[in-house]
Amino acid sequence: MTGRAEILSTPSEAAPARPAAAWRRDPLLVGILVVIAAVCLGLVGLQPAPYLVNAIGQLAAFAILAVSLDLVWGYLGILSLGHGLFFAIGGYVCAMHLLAHAFAVTGVAPDFVQFMGWTALPAYWAGLTHAPYALALALGLAAAVAFVFGLASFRSRVNGVYFSIISQALVYVAMLLMFRNDTGLGGNNGMTGFPLLFGYPMGSAAVTTGLALAALGTLAAVLVGTRALVAGPIGRRMLACRDDETRLRTLGYGTTRLKLAIWCLSAMIAALAGVLYVPQVGIINPRVLSPDLSIEIAVWMAIGGIGRLGGAVIGAVAINALKFWLSAALPEAWPFILSGLVLVVVLALPNGLLDLATLRTRPTWLRGGAPR
């Protein structure tokens, strides 16, 4: 129901023999990886303006987020309208780490601690000065939330739009929760004013470039990893589950376990995107949990092309680049442009912008060499 399955269901006998090379058979992905490498080199070699570096880093974080949603929507047919929750979990834990780190180094209590009249950070902030622990906490927390919610939903066969609605309610409730000031997480204002990253001053050219490189590198790794996953036996099972879950279950495959595992993996990737995003923008507040933002992630994918990891990246980068540009140049017009774009893509290009490439010449090299 979400577009053409045949693009990725490459029934190649060679796949199990050399799974490590799976990503190489997707020319689009290879192209994107080449572009990423080129951008990395450009960042190091050309030293562009800091705002540009920063924007590139943010785009890479959004692309990771889009890939995480593509994994469940494009390959499992589960549209989550609550992926902003996992993104926010990563972002919030990262912000907590940055604040705890700055507090430990400078001794100045964060704004919201002073605002609430407290003297120290709440107890559950303990240990967050250690980056590896913070990273593990971000991923673990996202996976745990995803596990509980996914188990409750998949076990009772909550599917399709039902799942979308409930996941939207989940992110909405989380937003209301984070708007409260007594949670110890900054409340309405969120958390901002991160002075240091691993002891280096935030905002210096080296740190900005480093963050952008880290985001790009992570994007490349996530793309290669997820591509290996979806091209392997698990990926084939995912597509089967998407296209006819009942039949797959009848054949003896445990679809709940499969969906739950991929769902948790997707949540962790989204949290990773949040971890990379927050130090670059320098703020996190409950607005990332607004249902609109979570829908927007799905919109990036719909525009880029669903069920095609490269499509997710293209959509996320294209829409966000456009947004960066237009919300500064034409802030009034941006919502109209976005809604118009969505309608055009949804009505005329069922597989997103990737359809544009196939409209005229249908070059087979873009279709992964797997015509049926």
Binding site: M1, T2, W73, L79, F149, A152, S153, R155, S156, R157, V158, G160, V161, Y162, S164, I165, I166, Q168, A169, L170, Y172, V173, L176, L177, F179, R180, P291, D292, I295, A298, V299, A302, E332, P335, F336, L338, S339, G340, V342, L343, V346, L347, P350
Partner: protein, 550 residues
Amino acid sequence: MAEMWDWSPRPLARLAFGLMLMLSATVAAAAGDALDRPGLVAALCGDAAALGRGAEAVIGSAGSAAPDDLAFAGGVLRGLLDRRLACVGTGAVLLDRVGAADGRDVLTGIPASATGGRSPVLGLRQRGLVEAGAGIVALLTGATVEARSAGLATLARRMGTLPEADAILERARTAEADAGLRRAIAQAMQAAALDAPDPARRRAAIAAIAAVPSSAALSRLTSLKADPAYIADPAFRAALDTGIASVERAVAIGNGLALAYNAVSFASILFMAAAGLAIIFGLMGVINLAQGEFIMVGAYAAYGVQEAFRWLAPGLIDLYLIAAIPVAFLASACVGIAVEALILRHLYRRPLMSLLATWAVSLFLINGVRVAFGSQNLQFGMPSYVSGGVPLYADFIVTWNRLFAIAFAAVTLVATLLILKRTPLGLDIRAVTQNRDMAGALGIRTRRVDRLAFGFGSGLAGLAGVALCPIYSVNPGMGANFIVDSFMVVVLGGVGTVVGTLVAALGIGGANVLIEPFYGAVAAKVIVLVGIIVFLQRRPEGLFAARRRR
């Protein structure tokens, strides 16, 4: 209810009345019932002590003095306060305006010169007494309700210092024609009785307050716990404790009723928002994320009707809310049909894409309205039938605006059920909901049914917009406040059933409003969401799943 002073403690007040007369006789020595006019004038023109005695004499006799005596005293005192009273020789002259050369003699009314006269100087204490006297006279003889209630306010400020207050208030209440002012006077008497020296009267006053429970009465009684008599007098303590207990119980019940009333009114709005959603979802499997914006369109249509009335028929403006009902329905229905015809028609095989398309529509509508009307809240003039309310029990007030929403929802429910069960369109909608292919094979034009049903569902959202504009603020982003809750209603109630939607709306609206006062609005939402997820474990199809084949 507040009229109870009309019957219960009347004998008591009469007794006090007599008592006061005896007391005041000592002050207004020779006066008795009749006012000694020359004596009063002489006192007012005398030294400070005599002036004070004169004012006291007026106050003391006010409970029984003849009306013309009162009017005379009032005129003199008012003149004194306004510095229009000039003492000349043995008498006094009342001037028409401050500083005039001549006026009329106070006693005889004959024109007289004020040359060489002096205005008595009022000390702080004397001024207070004179003001009280003038206020009392105004309360008793004032020509308008405003003048009399101003007099009551003056009197109430110095109630504690005036032993005669009771007799005066009793007289004023008996003579008063205005019901509202009579109630205010009764309250003032109650307050006076609470502070009275006689313990029996105080206990009676406590019982009288407790008989009309409200949170104001509760705080009034609770404040009496600090009174010395609470410790010293066991009978007083018992009376006060009983009174407080009964008022507390009544206030708790009243608050419970108010909470239930709010819950039902919120559920009504939720039902109206979700009913259209449930029909559309059941029929086409389309999640309409723009439903909240269709509500907004309905509310803006109501605003347009109000403005049209204001320009074309200002006399009938109170009727605009009624006139807005069909307009809002049609406006939202037209938008809905346009969306269906232009966009959703092409997306029936792809429900998740139609979800994104309706999101784009909602984004477009929000920003379109924002550009056209601005993002501020719209100002609605509230007709008399949706403003105010009737106090029913303790603090529970049945407010008309919420009753309007509840009644509106009830009518909508009945109308929707009738349309679905008793009209050809309803039959078609039910047939297509149950089995689209079969219905199509039997010759039903399913696409046409889709379009009409989508228009109908959108129109219901428009009606919700009319129902909520007397209660909630109306602005371009208002739809977002309802959309998540209405989706929860649809999921919980089961798709395509109006009854399920009703039960789920009552459940979710009720739970939200009932949990909120105890744990806060956020906790209420969290608990409701968790409750729904747990519930779906047992019944994934919702409360009342429509039987159908796909």
